[in-house]
Amino acid sequence: MTKSKIANVLKYVFLFVAAMISIFPLVWMFISATNTSGDVLGGRLLPGTNLLVNFRALTARADIGQALWNSLRNALVATVASLVVCSIAGYGFEVYHDRGKDFLMRVLLLSMMIPFAAIMIPLFMMVGQLNLLSTTTAFVLPTVSTAFLIFLFRQSARYFPRDIIESSRLDGLSELGIFLRMYIPVMRSTYATAGIITFMAAWNNYLWPLIIMQSEESRTMPLLLSNLVAGYVTDYGLLMLAISISVLPTIVIFLLLQRSFAEGIVLSVK
């Protein structure tokens, strides 16, 4: 065997082990969803026959359909709204830039350093005074415009050829037309990246919905999961099933858009 072959084998062994380590918790979670609570605690690694029992117990324990719908609705509205607002802002900051806008962009970037917990209380005051508690609007408003997404779109716009903008203007296309018909089709991968990031953040968001989603009917999946571990006795089979269900949408969306996601990241950090 030549040296390079040995190196190849070692490389694949290493990659296989690393892949196993990273995928194991996920696989174990899906397996545990089919086992009883006692088996999960006992560390059973083989699939069991308790999936239906766990499912029945879960649906009896909580309205998982409502929570899934709430999470999906909130995450989709938040994603669409923030893609529209942030892409226009990012495009504007780059294409129409001047000193004032560059300064504003720097201020925006500084805002990324402020943790959410620090602005949570004033945001809650605003939402409370507007009587928006337990509504999708309250969930979406703070995430509509984020410095990170604006930055992502601004960086992508930097690689959008200026010649296209110039020639489109000469051909009589309006500024909005250029954005809609020239910029968006070219920047599909950036939209995919931003979409995945925003959707996952909104789907997994815990602290903000915890504060504002106070009614039973407005509860999202992370809040429902938190309820499942709050008692004196926890059913781990049921819990693992609920977590498995809650990660499925993000896995599906990531798998569908993973190629564009990788392209978008590469484009933005060039």
Binding site: G38, G42, G128, L210, N227, A230, V233
Partner: protein
């Protein structure tokens, strides 16, 4: 009496009856609590009982974990939006005093509300009152129990009775023997968790703060003795340290240890493995020897119902609690069999439901026994900085087990708590 006077009197009487029942007409009392098998179930049953007394009041129960209640409470108070809080909140006893003192305008003073607090276990009333005023209706019982596998004890030649009213030295002696004969440690504990230390402290009527609220850690002889016992339990292998709560539950569910010492709510986890039915027994926890007020009784965990002071439904909420958790033996009888939710409402302890033998515990009438324990738990005040002190003690235990002397570890713990109090 003249007929006209009688008429007037009747009118006044009817009017007063009308106003008292109409006072809560069409009100909705919202409740935040956690655990559907325990607290929420109890609340639902209470709502059913109250529906017969006052059908115009709706009880809206929203499942909310304790940590989430604390986060929402803090955020609402900081944002000046206490109106977003529910009418009734279940609060952990460990955190109750801190919340009442930090947010005094949030919790209704229930002292003169008509609720008879003398009907509850003294230790629980002490935990739910600040400066002699009552701020919560006591609920679940956290009386400490020593639950043991009687079959393992028999294997080593012991009876459950041998563990009743004993000292920690006797516990350790028997534990060594049982470990040698059966290979099973007596109980397990989550590493660095201060729960057992706290139970030991309360069993001797002492806490980490003195009556003035000052830190009482460094020169606390009771605390020192409890830590010495803890270290000996670990070093002799009688008590196994595990990494987390799941491993703790597994250790007695799988029979790798012969028992557990905890608040009586742990029964809900003990009874999970069907095959262990009839093999368990319950007795009181061991007591300290050097400490002057040492008893075999303590408490661990537990929670109580508070009412929001500025709620428009405050009176309805108080009336609801007064007729149910603070006035209905029937409620406690109903919730006991399926939830194991033991009352600190003393009249409930005399009810027949509490004397029913428990099959899982070999026919022992454990509920009556635990209610008796609860009435003997020494009173302490957990204080405002309870959680900070608990954490500092957790760190001190780890240091002592790693070889540091107890005095200097406790001195450092005291300094840490003092620093946090001044911060």
């Amino acid at each position: 009496m003249r007929r006209s006077q009688v008429k007037v009197l009747l009118c006044v009487l009817m009017l007063s009856l009308l106003t008292s029942s109409a006072a809560f007409a069409n009100q909705t009392v919202t409740v935040w609590a956690w655990d559907p098998a325990f607290n929420l179930y109890a609340m639902e049953e209470a709502a059913k009982i109250y529906a017969e007394i006052n059908p115009d009041v709706t009880i809206n129960i929203v499942e909310t974990p304790w940590d989430d209640i604390q986060t929402r409470l803090t955020t609402a108070v900081m944002a000046g939006q206490t109106g977003t809080l529910p009418d009734i909140m279940l609060i952990q006893d460990n955190a109750l005093m801190k919340n009442v003192i930090d947010f005094p305008h949030v919790f209704a003073d229930l002292t003169d509300s008509g609720i008879d607090f003398s009907q509850f276990a003294d230790f629980k009333v002490s935990l739910t009152s600040v400066d002699g005023r009552n701020y919560a209706v006591p609920f679940d019982n956290g009386a400490a129990i020593n639950a043991l596998r009687v079959d393992v004890l028999h294997e080593a030649g012991y009876e459950l009775e041998d563990f009743k009213d004993i000292t920690w030295s006797e516990y350790i002696e028997m534990g060594k023997d049982i470990l040698a004969k059966t290979g099973k440690p007596l109980h397990s504990i989550v590493a660095e968790s201060p729960d057992l230390i706290m139970a030991g402290l309360q069993s001797a009527g002492t806490w980490m703060f003195d009556e003035n609220g000052d830190v009482f850690i460094a020169n606390n002889d009771v605390l020192k003795e409890v830590i010495e016992v803890y270290v000996e339990l670990v070093n002799t292998g009688i008590m196994v340290q595990v990494n987390d709560w799941e491993q703790y539950i597994t250790s007695f569910n799988r029979g790798t240890v012969a028992g557990t010492i905890n608040g009586c709510w742990i029964i809900g986890s003990i009874v999970l493995p069907e095959e262990q039915k009839g093999l368990w027994g319950v007795t009181n926890m061991p007591r300290l020897e050097r400490s002057p007020n040492a008893t075999n009784y303590s408490s661990q965990g537990g929670s109580s119902w508070t009412v929001r002071a500025d709620s428009p439904n405050k009176d309805a909420a108080i009336d609801f609690l007064a007729h149910t958790f603070a006035g209905s033996v029937e409620l406690y009888e109903t919730i006991l069999p399926s939830s194991g939710a033991l009352a600190t409402y003393l009249p409930a302890g005399d009810s027949a439901a509490y004397s029913i033998p428990h099959e899982f515990f070999g026919g022992q009438a454990i509920y009556a026994e635990i209610t008796d324990y609860a009435s003997r738990v020494p009173q302490v005040k957990y204080g405002v900085y309870n959680y900070e002190a608990r954490d500092a003690i957790g760190v001190a235990i780890a240091q002592v087990l790693a070889g540091r002397d107890i005095d200097s570890a406790l001195m450092e713990a005291e300094e840490t708590v003092r620093f946090l109090m001044e911060f």
